[in-house]
């Protein structure tokens, strides 16, 4: 998160820009409930975005990815898309240079985690987003610990986009959509 705005205000601004009709109110965004909110999406930190499909989690992650790639033109980003739903033209419209975004569509969670470990170990990636579909089992603590140690070593931002909490993250953001009717 950059600038003088706090994390919540930045999220609110991003969401209202993305969903003008949804009128996201203060109630729609919970405070980052764990860790230091200033480090959400920072490199070396594991951020967990807990959001139902439609709550704006994916756009938020893509916006952050675009911002990081813009400020580090020599680095790359990765989106590990387990649900096989990410629509690249929409990501491009959010400012992501598609040639610098590795879009992986593994067939299983274990393969996705292996891919994430490989990406982090490589060191050429600035931010990795892992989109895990509903029904994914919580990650083993050893895996989470290993990933956190690796991202600190390699200075990579790792973001889990999940429907429910899966891992002990450094920072967690919960998003939900209020009733607009």
């Amino acid at each position: 998160m950059s600038g003088d705005l706090s994390t919540v205000e930045t999220l609110r601004a991003a969401l209202s820009q993305r969903f003008p009709q949804a009128r996201p109110t203060a109630a729609a965004i919970h405070q980052p409930d764990r860790g230091d909110s200033r480090h959400a999406f920072s490199t070396g930190w594991l951020t967990e975005v807990v959001a139902d499909v439609g709550a704006g989690g994916c756009s938020l992650v893509l916006k952050q990815l675009a911002s990081l790639l813009k400020s580090h033109p020599e680095r790359y980003g990765a989106f590990v898309d387990l649900s096989h739903q990410l629509y690249p033209p929409a990501a491009a419209a959010l400012g992501i240079p598609l040639r610098r975004l590795l879009l992986l569509r593994p067939k299983s969670v274990s393969l996705a985690l292996k891919a994430v470990e490989l990406l982090v170990s490589g060191g050429g990636i600035r931010m990795i987003a892992l989109d895990l579909p509903a029904g994914t089992a919580p990650l083993r603590l050893s895996i989470a610990h290993r990933l956190r140690r690796l991202i600190r070593q390699r200075d990579v931002a790792l973001v889990f986009l999940v429907r429910h909490t899966l891992t002990p993250a450094d920072c967690r953001i919960e998003l939900s959509v209020g009733d607009t009717q």
């Binding site: 993305r18 969903f19 009709q21 949804a22 959001a51 139902d52 499909v53 439609g54 709550a55 704006g56 989690g57 994916c58 756009s59 893509l62 790359y76 649900s83 096989h84 739903q85 990410l86 629509y87 690249p88 033209p89 929409a90 990501a91 491009a92 419209a93 959010l94 400012g95 240079p97 598609l98 040639r99 610098r100 975004l101 590795l102 879009l103 992986l104 569509r105 593994p106 393969l111 292996k114 891919a115 490989l118 990406l119 490589g122 060191g123 050429g124 990636i125 070593q153 390699r154 959509v177 209020g178 009733d179 607009t180 009717q181």
Partner: protein, 482 residues
């Protein structure tokens, strides 16, 4: 001028054996077989086979009768040429001027190179690195070096007097004279080069023919052997065929290491690095259904054997071959000049690896899925508006992209039919936030689409992208705004 000559004794036999996995062939009787007029006969054999009485021209059964454990290998002109190319490639690391000296030698021009920087030992080891045992000798001309190589004299470059002395005493069989000429010279008592050179030029031309006269002039230094410089014609490739099919990964890994080392030596000799490596594993009986082929697209030129092997092992571990392997073939399908890099004084253990290598590992992990990035396409159909393409670090996004209308960040791979919606309805059942947006096209590729899209608000506050298919009238959920 100072040159080194690599004379390859029994070149066809060595060429056949260098693709043979059995490293004990030096201790086994081996015969190279040829087929002439339907008969399989011995072309040449090694010393151990010769001790058992095997000789060139013998038929197969006679040779096997004399030596039970005789290993028979087939002669192949392509293999012979490949062996010569391999050696010429490797020798490129010593000098830019390498020439083939037919039929079985290669000459390297070392003029201007300090003698102490190129030892005969280093030259011999270079040949061995591609599986060829050569006799190496140095001389002041290609002719002298080749003649000395026949007797395997390792003449130091800085002792020309010694070279002249050795050449003078050299037997005439060392200078490629026809057998008839050798016999004729022996009849008049001429056996050494010194004696041969004492004959008058006109007499040699008249009595012993054009070839002998040419050799005489070359030995005198009047005529220089013209050897065109070697120019690599084909991509670097190395093959290995095994008798016992390989089923274990460690054994496969061992053979791969040998081949990768050879391939790297050759590309280094060409002063290039490997950008793309193709590995083909051919199963028993060449079953086309089980031919395993994998391509390492390294993105930038590499010359690190450890790295290449690691990548290959990863690829094979994630996606192992499905049948026992009989032949391994490694081809450098793309190479490029090496980008030399300044090294740090104490190394940098935490330095990130190039992104191209990470993508190579990913391709292995994702079982051959090579298209890791996306590119936009000019197509109205949402599902056709992008394509997945292989990663290339050199390609950059040319400009920022903007959509003419809002698109969801999640697009369902298969549109979900909204069966409860009335097909006759022309408007969505849910509150419309925007639309309709008519998208149609695809008549040109046989997948026509004619749809009206709406962005609708669900009762939960989420937004969805739905469309009505013009042809069927059915409603579908195609995307989710998230």
């Amino acid at each position: 001028m100072s040159v080194a000559c690599f004379l390859i004794p029994q070149l066809p036999l060595q060429a056949a054996l260098r693709t043979h996995p059995d490293d004990d062939t030096a201790r086994k009787p081996v015969a190279l077989m040829q087929t002439t007029r339907g008969r399989r006969t011995v072309h040449s054999c090694n010393t151990i086979a010769r001790r058992s009485g095997v000789r060139a021209g013998m038929d197969r059964s006679t040779a096997l009768g004399l030596c039970n454990d005789l290993l028979l290998v087939d002669a192949c002109d392509t293999q012979t040429q490949q062996a010569l190319d391999a050696l010429a490639d490797v020798l490129g690391q010593f000098s830019p001027l390498v020439s083939l000296f037919p039929p079985d030698a290669i000459v390297v021009d070392l003029t201007g190179i300090r003698p102490e920087s190129v030892s005969l030992d280093a030259l011999s080891k270079a040949a061995l690195s591609v599986g060829i045992e050569a006799h190496v000798a140095m001389g002041h001309s290609p002719f002298a070096a080749r003649a000395l190589a026949t007797v395997h004299h390792q003449t130091p470059l800085n002792r020309p007097n010694k070279e002249q002395q050795l050449l003078a005493n050299l037997h005439l069989s060392s200078i490629q004279l026809p057998p008839d000429t050798l016999k004729a010279l022996a009849v008049i008592g001429i056996h050494t080069l010194d004696a041969f050179l004492s004959l008058p030029s006109a007499a040699v031309a008249r009595r012993f023919g054009a070839v002998a006269h040419r050799r005489w002039k070359e030995a005198k230094g009047i005529r220089v052997v013209a050897l065109p410089p070697y120019r690599p014609q084909s991509p670097v490739a190395e093959t290995r065929t095994v008798d016992d099919p390989i089923e274990r990964m460690d054994l496969l890994s061992f053979h791969l290491k040998t081949l990768v080392d050879r391939v790297l030596q050759r590309t280094r000799g060409r002063n290039r690095g490997i950008e793309e490596l193709t590995v083909t594993l051919i199963p028993v009986r060449n079953d086309p259904n089980h031919v395993y082929r994998t391509v390492l697209d390294l993105g930038r030129p590499q010359a690190d054997a450890t790295l290449l092997l690691q990548l290959l092992r990863e690829r094979l571990a994630h996606n192992p071959p499905q049948a026992p392997i009989e032949q391994i073939r490694i081809t450098v399908s793309r190479d490029a000049p090496l980008n030399h890099q300044q090294l740090t004084l104490f190394g940098d253990p935490a330095a990130p690896e190039p992104i191209e290598l990470t993508t190579v590992r990913l391709v292995g992990l994702l079982q051959g899925e090579e298209r890791l990035v996306t590119a936009l396409r000019d197509d109205y159909r949402p599902e056709q508006a992008y394509e997945r393409v292989p990663f290339n670090a050199q390609t950059q996004d040319s400009s920022t992209f903007s959509l003419s209308a809002e698109r969801p960040v999640r697009l369902l791979p298969i549109p979900q039919a909204l069966s409860q919606w009335n097909a006759d309805a022309l408007e969505p059942l849910l509150p419309v936030l925007s639309g309709p947006e008519r998208l149609q096209g695809g008549w040109w590729d046989g997948r026509p689409a004619a749809r009206d899209y709406w962005i609708v608000a669900e009762p939960t506050g989420k937004r969805s992208w739905v469309y009505r298919d013009h042809r069927t009238g059915c409603w579908y959920l195609h995307g989710l705004f998230d």
